[in-house]
Symmetry: C2
Subunit: 260 residues, 2 copies
Amino acid sequence: MNQKGGVGKTTTTVNLAAALARAGRRTLIVDLDPQGHSSLHVGVDLNAPGRTVYDVLIDDSEPPSAAIRPAVEHLDILPSTVDLAAAESELATLPEPHRRLDRALASLGDRYEFILIDCPPSLGHLTVNALTAAREVIIPMQAHFLALQGVVKLLETVRQVSQAYNPRLRVSGVVLCMHDTSSAHTREVVAELESFFEQSRQAESPWKFARVLRPAIRRNIKLAECPSFGQTIFQYAPQAPGAEDYAALGAALLKEWDAM
Amino acid sequence: MNQKGGVGKTTTTVNLAAALARAGRRTLIVDLDPQGHSSLHVGVDLNAPGRTVYDVLIDDSEPPSAAIRPAVEHLDILPSTVDLAAAESELATLPEPHRRLDRALASLGDRYEFILIDCPPSLGHLTVNALTAAREVIIPMQAHFLALQGVVKLLETVRQVSQAYNPRLRVSGVVLCMHDTSSAHTREVVAELESFFEQSRQAESPWKFARVLRPAIRRNIKLAECPSFGQTIFQYAPQAPGAEDYAALGAALLKEWDAM
Ligand SMILES: Nc1ncnc2c1ncn2[C@@H]1O[C@H](COP(=O)(O)OP(=O)(O)OP(=O)(O)O)[C@@H](O)[C@H]1O
Ligand SMILES: Nc1ncnc2c1ncn2[C@@H]1O[C@H](COP(=O)(O)OP(=O)(O)OP(=O)(O)O)[C@@H](O)[C@H]1O
Ligand SMILES: [Mg+2]
Ligand SMILES: [Mg+2]
């Protein structure tokens, strides 16, 4: 999640999920963004009829399994729809509006080893549902000066939701997206992020063990091209730097999560 | 303006304004984004006391001139503040909430030849104020498949505001930001945009004469670095491709606007 737009949330959700699936791990993408970009990214036709995450959130009796569709081997998706925009206000009228997704996903039992939730660029009801349901928060961002400005606010929101609804929530860390390895400025921004996380080790907070996740995901035009074919980077350009980086990030996170 | 985040609104507002100022034209930047990125970009200290666009919007008796500060030669800024986030809801309680900026800027008379307004990534009261006050709309975006998805909705919003509050509003066109000239995919997305604008010539709409503006602004890390020094690209790296592109875009727009 990241309330800032265009930082790599969708690209990371889809390609990291695909990396986990390639490692043989049963993975589900939940597209919680009314823009439906994760759904488009794996070839879902947003205009075709079918149940979506909107039905699952708004209607207690709607089982997520009826809405889930296959994407690639070991990877399924619970797709979005433009109707989801209405959910931001409709959720407010329901009981325990922040816990709708949590309950729905709990009903899936252990069908999936990993569930990755793509959030919209906002801190509204949809994102709060994601933070209430999740175990971990991954924050995609660019290592740019202006991008640093939003991180503190984001972490404060995570803390508030954690305290109110999900005490076990923790921030795994930041995924550096569209990364330019050649720039000194980029290195300075990364250093600033790493030093912030270092200083957070001392006190209790959801980001106590957060860090800059590795590897960074280099800018690679193939990552911007594959959504237009409804494919993950591994289907579209498996030799590309974008595939290499997301595969390595997936392997690094699996190593950490399997050890927990 | 563009309701999508991270597309180049701030980078374009500041560096295009700076290009106009370099051509000797008296220019004002209005920072309408609570994030305050345009203000940061030209070295304004958001924490220092002083009047801001928030005071001007909320308080009828507050003259914009009291809030305006110099940035570089021929370029001033009406800065933002984090308080502006409250304006989204406070504006709703005021009479003619959409026209507050229009009235405030009208009081400046002909003090400035050009006023460029940096909008937040949303279609709320602040952006509607900008669309009500403006003559022209410039849409920064990346030539990526996923970026195309938001354009239709954006233009519909422009049409609604134009019909309700500002019949003379017109869309100048799209500025291609962070442009990758080497990719066939990018060329296809640009072709799709150009063909959309071609087909719009036949009917009346605010985008009847809109087009893809030239030149595109190439990806250039210098453009991401200069905000951290509170400088425009012309101060920070006047020989860089980013400076070259924004200077050429400024010249092209001046040619069009001077002919009107
Ligand atoms: N490493 C990369 N290299 C090149 N292009 C990238 C990379 N990561 C993302 N992109 C492209 O940048 C754009 C923004 O990325 P993405 O859509 O993943 O961001 P987002 O945070 O999900 O945006 P939103 O806030 O709109 O949901 C997309 O067009 C995407 O294809
Ligand atoms: N041509 C470019 N080359 C390299 N970096 C760029 C370029 N244009 C913009 N950037 C960088 O990309 C990021 C997003 O740009 P910018 O802040 O201008 O977008 P925005 O639309 O104003 O975002 P927001 O929606 O948050 O207001 C910034 O870190 C900026 O410095
Ligand atoms: Mg997205
Ligand atoms: Mg901005």
